[in-house]
């Protein structure tokens, strides 16, 4: 009985006691719902670093919104969205029209973007303000922010559902898709738009640097537990949920900053998955298996 009480104390009662803990959990889980599946697609299309680059690219947009209106949800979101789309478009243009390839084009614009964003924030705010823009504040999710996170998750899931088939085809055989359908361009752009949307939404909770973490690390971890696409989508979301919960409760007990702790938990889960994951886990190689097993 005592261990049960202790368990409750450690893991449930902080959420029962404090509203800000509940809001942090709900916000992070909403973020995982949208970001998890997107992370899986990014991973499968070998665009994992694109997510990171885009996260840095949205910084000056959010910084401009911050410069105009302080820590305002509307302005920073709008600014981030615009910056993200502009960078995606410019990168696409440079790839198409010049000798540079996609990776260089995107890298160039995100670097310019990031530096511009840092300068913009320092124009108005102090260093501490910059830290908040970079790291977000998952403990301070007010109602409008939670609504934004929830809406972004809904929009992401619905769009993914609509674009599911062309998206899968684009992952595995983009040339074929281009020959049989007009939707290749739309799919690519729509998918990038979703990436930007989730990064901008996550930006408010976790900040620029870490919202990518919740997008990618659960997807990477999911790879080691299942080989089917649907399985990966579900696992990524589930691992996102678990990381959010563990991260928040750990930061509560250890007194560490909450955002980075969530990402660290995701990282730990990822490392464990590499080792003991049900499919493709490293340690599995040491277990003798039936010859010719499918």
């Amino acid at each position: 009985m005592n261990t049960l009480m202790l368990f409750y104390e450690m893991s449930i009662s902080p959420f029962a006691e404090f509203a800000f803990m509940r809001r942090a959990l709900v916000g992070a889980m909403a973020l995982s719902l949208g970001a998890g599946p997107i992370g899986v697609f990014l991973m499968l299309r070998r665009m994992s670093l694109v997510g990171d680059a885009m996260a840095h690219a949205i910084l000056p947009g959010a910084a401009l919104g911050y410069l105009i209106a302080g820590l305002s949800l509307g302005f920073m979101t709008a600014g981030g969205l615009v910056a993200g789309f502009v960078v995606a478009l410019l990168a696409g243009l440079v790839t198409r029209l010049t000798v540079l390839k996609e990776d260089a084009a995107l890298a160039s614009f995100y670097l310019i973007s990031l530096a511009g964003g840092v300068v913009l924030v320092s124009l108005r705010g102090s260093n501490v303000d910059l830290l908040h823009v970079l790291f977000g504040s998952v403990l301070a999710l007010d109602d409008p922010t939670l609504l934004l996170l929830a809406s972004s998750a809904t929009v992401s899931l619905v769009t993914l559902a609509i674009l599911f088939r062309p998206l899968v085809l684009e992952c595995v055989d983009p040339l074929f898709l281009r020959t049989v359908s007009q939707s290749s361009g739309v799919t690519h752009l729509g998918f990038l738009a979703l990436v930007v949307l989730n990064l901008v939404a996550g930006f408010h909770a976790l900040g620029t640097l870490l919202s990518v973490g919740l997008m990618m690390l659960p997807a990477f971890a999911a790879r080691f537990w299942t080989s089917t696409l649907e399985g990966m989508l579900a696992m990524a979301t589930l691992i996102g949920f678990i990381s959010s919960y563990l991260g928040i409760i750990a930061s509560y007990h250890a007194g560490t900053p909450t955002g980075p702790t969530i990402i660290l938990c995701a990282g730990v889960i990822y490392l464990i998955s590499i080792l003991i994951g049900g499919r493709n886990g490293l340690l599995l190689r040491f277990i003798p298996r039936k010859h010719l097993a499918a």
């Binding site: 404090f18 820590l71 260093n127 908040h132 504040s137 930061s251 250890a254 900053p257």
Partner: protein, 296 residues
Amino acid sequence: MDIKSSGIIISIILMLIGPVKADEKIQVVASFSILTDLIQEIGGDRVSVDTLVGPEQDAHVFNPAPKDAVRIAQSKLVFLNGLGFEGWMERLVKSAASKTKLIIVTSGIKPHSRKYKNGYEDLDPHAWQDVRNIRIYAANITEALIAIDPAGKITYENNFYRYDANLTSLDAFIRSSIIAIPSERRKIVTTHDAFGYFEQAYGVSMIAPQGVSTESEASAKDVATIIRQVKSEHIPAIFIENISDPRLAEQIAKESGAKIGGKLYSDALSNENGPAGTYITMMETNIRELTKAMMP
């Protein structure tokens, strides 16, 4: 030359030096901005004050530079708070090695001591937070100025009586503001440790938040601790400078039911155009912020 012409020459020379001497202000140095304000109130045009730790600066991290030693050497008086506030001052004055007189403005005040968590105890220097002490500061300053410049005695005394009357009404204003607040609400949470004298003089409890780190990012644990403490002790207001994210401050306010207070000025005046450019306006600003936060 004959006596008449040398007499004329000497008179001309005296005429030239004379007016210059009469225009000269008394050069003094004050250790920080609050003292500067007091000296200017009392000394008026007869005194020119140099400040070592200016408005909006932090006396605790002040690093004296050689030019400060020069300024001290060129001044007649140096005004210090004492009670350990200017730990560096003695070294500075000794290095200036001048004929400058050192005036400790807190002489005659009953000091409080402050205890630290590890049991260590020392004197609390922030005596200016009690307006009655400032009247003693002003009296000491007046005495020192009269001693160094007897010709200005009438001016200094008139200024002192005028300022002392202002201080008395300030003290009354603070007390009446606090009486208007219900007694169970006269407490706040603050990370400032500079309000001990204010607390004792005016009956407002200044509670330190338990275990909040002063780093730039408050953790979930910190936030939970503050909320729990505020709820259990029914504290109406929080003045914590390191919760700088306004969204987080709002969240804490909503959940604990406390109001988040504005900026309190403890160790230095603000700039001239700011809300705390003089000692009196500083105390008025502080009591306004406190009242706003503590009133239901």
